[in-house]
């Protein structure tokens, strides 16, 4: 019996990465022991500067996890403190330690909650298992940052990435960016929410949505976690439709929850589902994209386009973006920061559009002042929806800094 206990107590847990080409990450291995306290072996490329700090942090995290006896081997490649904490916690959990305990890093000031109809022209995907991209992700001016737990994370790394993303939501200042998380497909995605929702992300992207029930499952889970933690702040939802069935159910999905602010499409999976090749012109997905736009507008939410995968082709991206805006989309995804400025340019109203909208708004204001029910510009009468569109366009142009 004693032997059995000893054996189960020494199963080691590992997390993270190290090596010559790894940056801003670390590898931790934790081998539980029965006595002898915490023994830390540390190699670090920043040892002369932060060696003491890393040891101290490792001791604190392990103490918080209730680990008192273990051999801890750390190979650090200049990881920031929130990454160190997440990796140690992941290694401990994989060693069967610290179950049910969270070790949270210090929190930067929580930004203002995001609004339902804020600009979502660009959202930059950051792989949830690559911490080196986290800290500077927001510098490049995207409207949103997506910390991704789904396709960019290897199945074996899901648990560790979840902790990294949780810690990033607390410790990283994402500046003006909307803080988004793409969870995994359900049911794994519901487990992601357990770690993510307490850290108040602004928006959750739900992948591979094919029916309203999936959205409801997510929104119920969010509500439950928020109640448990006493959080009143809204978490918006953006379902991603990536299959023929999902496209067929677009409107039902878009209206499944009042927290939905946008509907988007994943073209890689969608074209794979149809068994067709994804082309630069997107003819094969024209119907699906139009369906998204129509369903989103019918439901009163934003329609957001897919990503443009060829990072080297900025001209192609611009063309795609201009088309996309003409179809009724309000933004698209980015897989590299260099795409952000191009997308913002593509989705910006043209000078002619702004000028026309300005004239319509001026005519509208004049009519309001004069108490006239009918707005007219020159000899033409302007319908109320046209006025509304002009007001919205001016609103966006101001937000983009194109006019005062």
């Amino acid at each position: 019996m004693i032997n059995a206990i000893e054996t189960s107590a020494v199963s080691a847990g590992e997390a993270g990465h190290w090596g010559k080409d790894v940056r801003s990450d670390l590898h931790v291995s934790i081998t539980p022991s029965l006595r002898g306290g915490i023994d830390i072996e540390l190699e670090s490329r920043v040892k002369p500067y932060y060696g003491e700090a890393i040891r101290r942090q490792a001791e604190e995290v392990l103490e918080a996890l209730g680990v008192s006896h273990a051999l801890v081997v750390i190979h650090d490649e200049g990881a920031l403190p929130f990454v160190i904490a997440a990796r140690i916690e992941a290694a401990a959990r994989r060693a069967g330690l610290g179950e049910g305990t969270r070790v949270l890093p210090g929190r930067v000031a929580l930004p203002e909650p995001s609004t339902r109809d804020r600009m979502r022209r660009s959202r930059l995907y950051v792989p949830g298992s690559e911490p080196k991209y986290f800290v500077n992700a927001a510098l490049h001016g995207a409207d949103g940052i997506i910390l991704d737990l789904e396709d960019s994370v290897h199945p074996r790394e899901k648990d560790a990435a979840r902790l990294l993303v949780r810690n990033a939501l607390r410790a990283v200042d994402f500046l003006q960016c909307e803080r988004m998380v793409r969870i995994n497909q359900l049911p794994l995605g519901l487990d992601d929410l357990e770690e993510i929702v307490p850290e108040c992300p602004d928006l959750i992207l739900i992948p591979k949505v094919e029916s309203p029930s999936q959205v409801l499952a997510v929104s119920r889970q969010i509500e439950k976690i928020q109640n448990d933690h006493g959080i009143g702040r809204t978490v918006w939802l953006m379902p991603i439709l990536e299959s023929a069935l999902g496209i067929e159910h677009a409107y039902e999905i878009a209206t499944a929850s009042p927290q939905i602010v946008a509907l988007t499409i994943g073209l890689e999976d969608y074209t794979a589902d149809l068994g067709v090749t994804k082309t630069a012109t997107g003819t094969e997905s024209l119907f699906a994209r139009q369906r998204i736009v129509n369903a989103a507008h019918a439901a009163g939410v934003q329609a957001i386009d897919s990503v443009f995968g060829d990072v080297g082709d900025l001209e192609g991206l611009h063309t795609w973006g201009v088309n996309s805006r003409a179809m009724g989309f309000e933004g698209m995804g980015c897989v590299h920061p260099s795409q952000i400025a191009v997308i913002h340019q593509a989705f910006a109203p043209t000078a002619a559009e702004i000028e026309k909208a300005q004239r319509i708004v001026a005519a509208y204001n004049e009519a309001q002042q004069k108490g006239l029910g009918v707005v007219s510009l020159g000899s033409k009468m302007i319908d109320p929806p046209v006025v509304q569109r002009a007001l919205k366009l001016m609103d966006r142009a101001r937000a983009m800094g194109l006019t005062t």
């Binding site: 490329r45 920043v46 002369p48 500067y49 700090a53 510098l139």
Partner: protein, 522 residues
């Protein structure tokens, strides 16, 4: 061995402790930029008689060993070499190994820069052939020096400072060995032709005129005359023909690469925007940028802005690369004044375009010249390993004190109208903006702008620049503000690595005074 006691250290005007004497020579501590004005006459080479040289102009000898013997190589002499072949150079080691075969000892090797491929010089130091190196050291040679294993002290000089040290007699070169991609039997040399073409040979010019003896080593011997010639055969004693002077793949890059890092691209774009918004980018302006990833990307951004604004530069200074050559060929600058040539496009352009001109540290950087180009350049973009809140910068050591880079033209370039350091705010959790630089290479009074991915800091001494960018959309921030943000991200200030107590090298200022000390890393 030059063992120094603590009482031989003095405090210089930059507040750094520096040795009073280095390798037996009494030093002048740094007095402040532009303050030191030495008197006297320049050093000069010995008088020679043309009657002692072959009338047919054929100065060829069988091999380097023969040439060194004929030059009278003895123990303790100074042998110089040059880094225009960069990491591909074979000539310097070839010469030093020939000296080892001759059996001399205690040489001082005086390269214009050393490279990792020359790590075998360590063996020659271990065996006593070389006593010490005066010249930039990095990689294995840098570690050898900072671990305190070198017998004499290292002396790190800028390109201009090397010329100054030769001219004021601080360093007397006994034998200069010049690697020549093309040469004739008389000793005329050129760098822009031949299988080992490297571009300008400017670094070897001072040595060719001031050394007691000069040996040209080439793998592309042409009949007299070698046209064009940058090194004059009239200064050369012997010509040696060898199979290969270097590894072409390491001499120039096929193509120099722009950084792909989004953070670094952001820094590069900020730098270009700063030049535009500050009004520095205007017709007839000039700038200098190196061949680092950020600098190359900067040129790309600036080029587009120059096109958009219809602006043309009068001259740009290299390190020339494809990107500068494009500016010249697209009519966006009148001239390239080229200090060294980094890629094949640069070599081709230097060889074929009369508006692409080879320069030297004499024209560009020398403190003992009657002026130099560096101070006439409107803006320069440089890197650094550390910057402190007084805008002092370090370019030679890691934050832990190990030698990392040479000074190159870096110190000399600080004389530009607007000196910009383009640096990430931290590297691998190590903040670049610190309380005090580990090694002082550039006094803060000469450094005007720090551009990081988190914002741009302007030296408060440059109110004119602060005013010039008022109203610009650029993220101008106080340096301590950026520093504070980075320290928060990195989890507090780094601990200071334990400082060594024995000086292993000194950093010279451009005027020959001692700016700072590199300490043995414990």
């Amino acid at each position: 061995m030059a063992v120094l006691e603590k009482n031989e250290l003095v405090l210089n005007a930059a507040g750094r402790m520096v040795p009073e004497s280095v390798n037996g020579g009494l030093q002048t501590p740094f007095m402040g930029a532009g303050k030191y004005r030495p008197q006297g006459r320049k050093a000069s080479p010995p008088v020679r008689t043309a009657a002692d040289y072959p009338e047919n102009g054929d100065k060829r000898v069988a091999d380097l060993e023969t040439a060194l013997r004929k030059c009278g190589l003895r123990d303790g002499m100074v042998i110089s070499s040059h880094h225009h072949l960069r990491d591909g150079d074979r000539v310097a080691l070839m010469a030093l190994e020939a000296a080892a075969r001759i059996g001399v000892r205690n040489l001082m090797w005086f390269p214009s820069a050393s490279f990792p491929s020359q790590a075998d010089a360590i063996k020659l130091m271990e065996s006593g052939v070389i006593d010490h190196i005066e010249g930039s050291m990095n990689g294995p040679l840098g570690d050898y020096c900072t671990q305190g294993k070198m017998r004499g002290m290292g002396v790190l000089r800028s390109h201009g400072g090397r010329w100054q040290a030769i001219q004021d007699g601080e360093v007397h070169i006994d034998i200069a060995v010049i690697a020549a991609p093309t040469a004739d039997p008389f000793g005329n040399c050129d760098g822009s032709h031949g299988k080992s073409a490297c571009g300008s040979l400017g670094f070897a010019l001072a040595d060719s005129t001031y050394a007691d003896h000069v040996i040209a080593v080439t793998d592309n011997l042409v009949p007299f005359p070698c046209i064009p010639w940058q090194i004059q055969g009239n200064n050369v004693d012997y010509v040696v023909e060898v199979e290969s002077i270097g590894d072409p793949t390491k001499i120039v890059s096929g193509t120099t690469q722009i950084t792909r890092s989004p953070d670094r691209l952001r820094i590069a774009e900020f730098v270009a925007q700063f030049l535009r918004d500050a009004g520095i980018m205007c017709n007839g302006f000039s700038f200098q940028a190196g061949a680092g990833g950020i600098a190359l990307a900067f040129v790309g951004y600036l080029k587009q802005m120059m096109k958009d604004a219809g602006v043309k530069a009068r001259f740009v200074r290299g390190g020339s690369t494809k990107y500068l050559v494009e500016l010249l060929e697209e009519g966006l600058t009148d001239y390239i004044l080229d200090g060294q040539t980094f890629d094949l496009d640069g070599v081709r352009s230097l060889a074929n375009n009369v508006c692409h001109v080879a320069t030297s540290p004499f024209t560009s950087y020398n403190y003992h010249g009657k002026g130099n180009f560096a101070s006439m350049v409107d803006a320069v973009v440089l890197g650094a390993t550390e910057v402190d809140t007084n805008f002092n910068a370090n370019v030679v050591t890691h934050s832990d004190g190990r030698l990392l880079h040479g000074i190159g033209g870096w110190q000399n370039c600080l004389a530009a109208g607007c000196t910009i350091l383009a640096v990430p705010s931290f590297r691998d959790r190590i903040p670049v903006i610190v309380d005090q630089v580990t090694t002082l290479c550039g006094p803060g009074e000469l450094i005007d702008v720090i551009v990081t991915e988190r914002g741009i800091a302007i030296n408060p001494r440059r109110q004119d620049l602060i005013d010039a960018v008022k109203g610009s959309k650029l993220p101008i921030r106080p340096l301590p503000d950026i520093k504070g943000e980075v320290e928060r991200i990195c989890g507090g200030k780094p601990q200071r690595p334990r400082a060594g107590e024995r000086p292993v090298a000194v950093v010279k200022w451009v005027d020959g005074t001692v700016l700072d000390t590199v300490w043995q890393v414990p």
